[in-house]
Symmetry: C2
Subunit: 257 residues, 2 copies
């Protein structure tokens, strides 16, 4: 007896799915010189607000690569978040590449120019052409405020363009999050399992078969020559999640016996 039609609950859940992708832009990540630090932060935050992060791409400071990735991701997901390449130097080409991806002109945005001019005047520094680059954005873009260092990110369509420096990225993301449509929040439970995946593979698959509305993941751990597993269950309904968690615990107890 297999159910093929979606129940009303499942239909409602599908309608409420909000997805996201991240695009990390920067040669320094791909060369291994700098460890990527923003994706993990974004991932945890998206999970917390019920947005399903589906994909992360890291590309180099290459216009074609950025354009292609932006267009692929914005067509597929509710939101796209980019990090990197919006500073004042010659290798900061994100604003131009994103503008081209949208087929929009990229110009110095008047309000950003004013904000930056004021900052540099206050600091007694010249507002050079290089610094003016940081005011460039596609026509019609909306600012993303930068409380750390003023130079704004921007939003165009469903794409949020943010800085790569982690302190600035996180500050920008904090200003963006309240504007997002968020999905149905999934709750999760983690169960420590002293056995390796080889031992639990079959019984865990049997539990998964019984709870098709709960996503069960198993994450192999390797510590001092010993394998163990963290089992994580995710679901939208607490009662069902507790029931499945209990089933996993019983499964482990059965193996211990």
């Amino acid at each position: 007896m297999t159910e093929t039609a979606a129940t009303p609950e499942e239909t409602a859940a599908d309608l409420s799915v909000v997805t996201a992708a991240m695009l990390v832009i920067g040669d320094e990540i791909l060369s291994g010189r700098i460890r990527e630090k923003n994706a993990g932060h974004l991932a945890a935050l998206m999970t917390a607000i019920g947005v399903d992060l589906k994909e992360v791409r890291i590309v180099s400071d290459d216009e074609e690569a950025i354009i292609e990735a932006v267009n692929a991701l914005r067509a597929r997901y509710t939101y796209v978040f980019t990090s990197g390449g919006i500073g004042p130097t010659h290798d900061d080409i994100t604003a131009d590449a994103v503008s081209k991806a949208f087929g929009l002109p990229c110009d110095h945005e008047p309000r950003a120019m004013q904000m930056l001019a004021a900052v540099y005047a206050e600091r007694g520094l010249e507002f050079t052409d290089a610094r003016k680059r940081m005011a460039r954005m596609p026509e019609g873009a909306v600012h993303i405020d930068n409380p750390v260092s003023i130079a704004p990110g921007f939003m165009i369509g469903n794409v949020h363009v943010m800085a790569g420096v982690p302190a600035v990225f996180q500050a920008m993301l904090d200003t963006v999050v309240p504007t997002l449509r968020t999905g149905r929040k999934l709750m999760s439970r983690a169960v420590h399992c002293p056995h390796g995946e080889g031992t639990i593979g079959e019984p865990l698959a049997a539990v998964q078969d019984r709870f098709t509305d709960i996503a069960i993941g198993s994450y192999p751990k390797h510590d001092k020559g010993k394998f163990w597993t963290e089992i994580v269950l995710r679901g939208a309904e607490e009662a069902r999640l507790d029931e499945a968690t209990e089933a996993v615990r019983q499964m482990i107890a059965g193996l211990d016996g």
Copy 2:
């Protein structure tokens, strides 16, 4: 006077370019539960051996997403390295997805079956169907040895399928590296610059214009409220690299004065 034709050196350099992409497979990374730890290691290693890592993608444990990414990346780059999804549990679907990407059947590979059977016999553990999953690979695949926990990865075409557990990923990668065609190694120089990118944007672009054979990147740093910059130069010819590095140092000295 703009040169448009490639010099003999440039042509030779282009022929020797070896590229790579990485595909990270796993819900646990995209949910933010686990921080991705293999990409940085791969990136640094590829740079060291002269392979140009051009792209990293992270996708979920979703067959369609894996197939699409594998096919996009293997068509575009010399090598593809995957991590994750080759364990014994129901959410480990990398072997099947990669087989489908190549249009090949996925079966229990006899030598892998023997190796795993011997391991479990020695440990006095049953060689269950779940454990047998770890011997699955596409027809014609070549083993990638796993000195840590025996279950092999595999290579099919230009795609190297490896484990997600960092200790195992790194061990597998160490066995793969000597088999790779490596490119012309780029040397690099890093210059500490006490100024933010806004200050150096223009003069640095001028240096870049003079040294078109040297890739100059600038990486903004933010530390205790102060912005500074690390400038990294990369090139294949040491004399030119030294010349460009000296030009960057003089540029900074000019700003200090």
